[in-house]
């Protein structure tokens, strides 16, 4: 059994109705599951949203998370794509201290991360970065030496690459 700190990525296709997010978060809270990040947005089908959860826990916990998500009437399909060849991305906006003396240095770091400067003021820069969680973490860490004011992250969204994946929603778990 894998360690507790392991992160798993689960996606769920859900009905886009009032209260759905509440039901899902209530289930996580009640069962004591740990969500590291949660991202929600419209899916390719109108009326349906897709959620990406990054969940901490061992394999058994994640299996129970998937089963309990599946139990919710408004959840249509649940996939555990942790072990899949998947692309995962999040977007972050980072406001970092910056003046004339270090602006160049920060811009170099931003370039290396293929990030963008999207706003400049006298004392700060706003950096936009996309990438997987580790990449965003690294950039935030590096910029921390200059003083990070504010970080806004979307949470991870993920999609498996063009291969088939196994559904967790089958009856024979």
């Amino acid at each position: 059994m894998s360690s507790f700190s392991e992160k798993h990525t689960i996606t769920a296709l859900v009905e886009d109705r009032p209260g759905v997010l509440n039901r899902i978060s209530s289930m996580f809270r009640r069962r004591g599951y740990n969500i590291s990040s949660l991202a929600v947005g419209q899916s390719e089908t109108s009326g349906l949203s897709r959620m990406t959860f990054v969940v901490q826990g061992d394999t058994k916990t994640v299996e129970m998370v998937a089963k309990n998500l599946n139990k919710l009437v408004e959840v249509i399909k649940v996939l555990d794509i942790s072990d899949e060849n998947a692309v995962s991305r999040e977007l972050a906006l980072i406001r970092v201290n910056s003046d004339v003396s270090n602006r160049g240095e920060i811009m170099q770091i931003v370039d290396i991360f293929r990030a963008k400067i999207v706003d400049v003021s006298k004392d700060t820069l706003m950096v936009e970065v996309t990438g997987d969680e580790d990449k965003v973490d690294s950039l935030v860490d590096l910029l921390a030496t200059f003083g990070v004011h504010e970080v806004m992250r979307t949470g991870t969204v993920a999609m498996s690459r063009g291969v088939s994946f196994e559904s967790l929603s089958g009856p024979e778990n």
Binding site: G19, N22, E63, N70, V73, V75, E172
Partner: protein, 564 residues
Amino acid sequence: MIKKGSQIVCESLLREGCDVVFGIPGGAILPLYQTLPEYPELRHILVRHEQGASLAADAYARITGKPGVAFATSGPGATNLVTGIASAQMDSVPLVIVTGQVNSWTLGTDAFQETDITGITLPITKHNFLVMDARDIADTIKEAFYIANSGRPGPVLVDIPRDAFNQQVDYSDEPSIDLPGYSPSTKGNNRQIKRAAKLIAQAEKPVIIAGHGIIISKAYDELRQLAEKAQIPVITTLLGISCFPEDHVLWTGWPGMHGMAYSSLALDEADLIIALGMRFDDRITGNPQKFAVNSRKIHIDIDPSEIGKNISVDVPIVGDVKEILLELNPIIEESAHPEWLKRIDQLKIEHPSLKLPQTDKLLARQVIKDISEITDGQATLVTGVGQHQMWAAQHYRFKKLCSFLTSGGSGTMGYEVPAAMGAQVADPDATVWSICGDGGFQMTMSELATIVENRLPVKFAILNNGFLGMVRQWQEIFFESSYVSTGYSGNPDFVKLAEAYGIKGIRVTDKTQVKPAITEAMDHDGPVLIDFIVEQEDNVYPMIPSGMTVNEIIEENLDQKVTS
């Protein structure tokens, strides 16, 4: 055809086969109530507290197999239902609850008697709905019934604002179900069923543990066939009691915290556990790491999230237990297991968990034994929660199928009064005995009025020990007999109380009066309440303390006199 929302509610309920509604009117739901006279086929039972409505509906559902239906108004009416809804959710009982809500344009403004009941009941319902438009009522109620009574059953709440009841809409289309995320599978996986058959063939010491699922899916015959064909002892869970006749030679009691020692030991010694429609509750397993470690396990349940939750299993089969047994039974081999059955008999002799101590005192257990004898195990028994519940489950020998109603998962005290009412409404010809604690009885005794009003001949046996008995027992064992807040010194005179309601009341203080009183109650045409003044500090044994194992079981020392 133009109809009002309230009419659509009634017609939708009738369409789903509902014939009885338990409830209390109030402002927000009044438009629905004012429509009821147009639908005389819909019998409304006016309870005295909404908790009585949800608990009565629970019992009604368990007996009939149809969802129990309850109405309540917004705010306090709806919140009073909550305990019954939570109970039904824990015990997989189908309910459809219709609550009135404040007018839609005042929602969210803290209007008079506004409560977010869908928010409140979100974690204790299988699903719930807020219907803002009368055009959605018919579909929603159809969906509510479907969700409540398919897959693993559970309560569904439908909250309807007052104006939607009055809204006039076109009601011509057949209602339809649109639930893309809900499709419970009932058919078991073939490969796993074959693996199960193989394990059963290999087992030398197999045990069946049969749960509430057998009753819900009415798999009584299939369970019996499996047990008889392979000669496997049958243990039930608490909620599985009465899914298998207890005069059957293979019946082996029920295990766990207060179950028969021989049942717990049989589970521990078994080399194969066949778990049918049950969920390895902590009251059964004790310490899950040390539970039944000598056995392989086949777990059949309709809820995938119950499989592997508390106990790891070797063969998981998700589906309806009846459908699965219909597939499994033909492919299992006939076998005998004489050695194992002999061992079970020996365990029963070495651990006579159901034997009563010799005493002249009036023991609550004696009352149950006598009711069992006089009714020949053919009554429907409804209990509250605590010592009397455990004694009822231990000492009544259930011979009638689906005849034991108790709040198992949630442990809802006060279940005994409204649930007995619901059971009698569901089956007017049944002999219904409500086994009450003096504590629980006082939580819901207001329903006595409903029982009288509806001429329900329920027989109440209050096992009156003047204590919250089970809590007192824990205080005795775990807190050095420090009886904090468990003594009921101010109990009313229950006989006078019964008489105040127009119910025949009998008091029994002596062991010799028990049987005559029970017979008198049975002969009386109408409800009867017997106040049995029983031994105050009697304990329920065997007892496996919480989180322990069968090795730590405490059994009664029958040589010792009962404490006084």
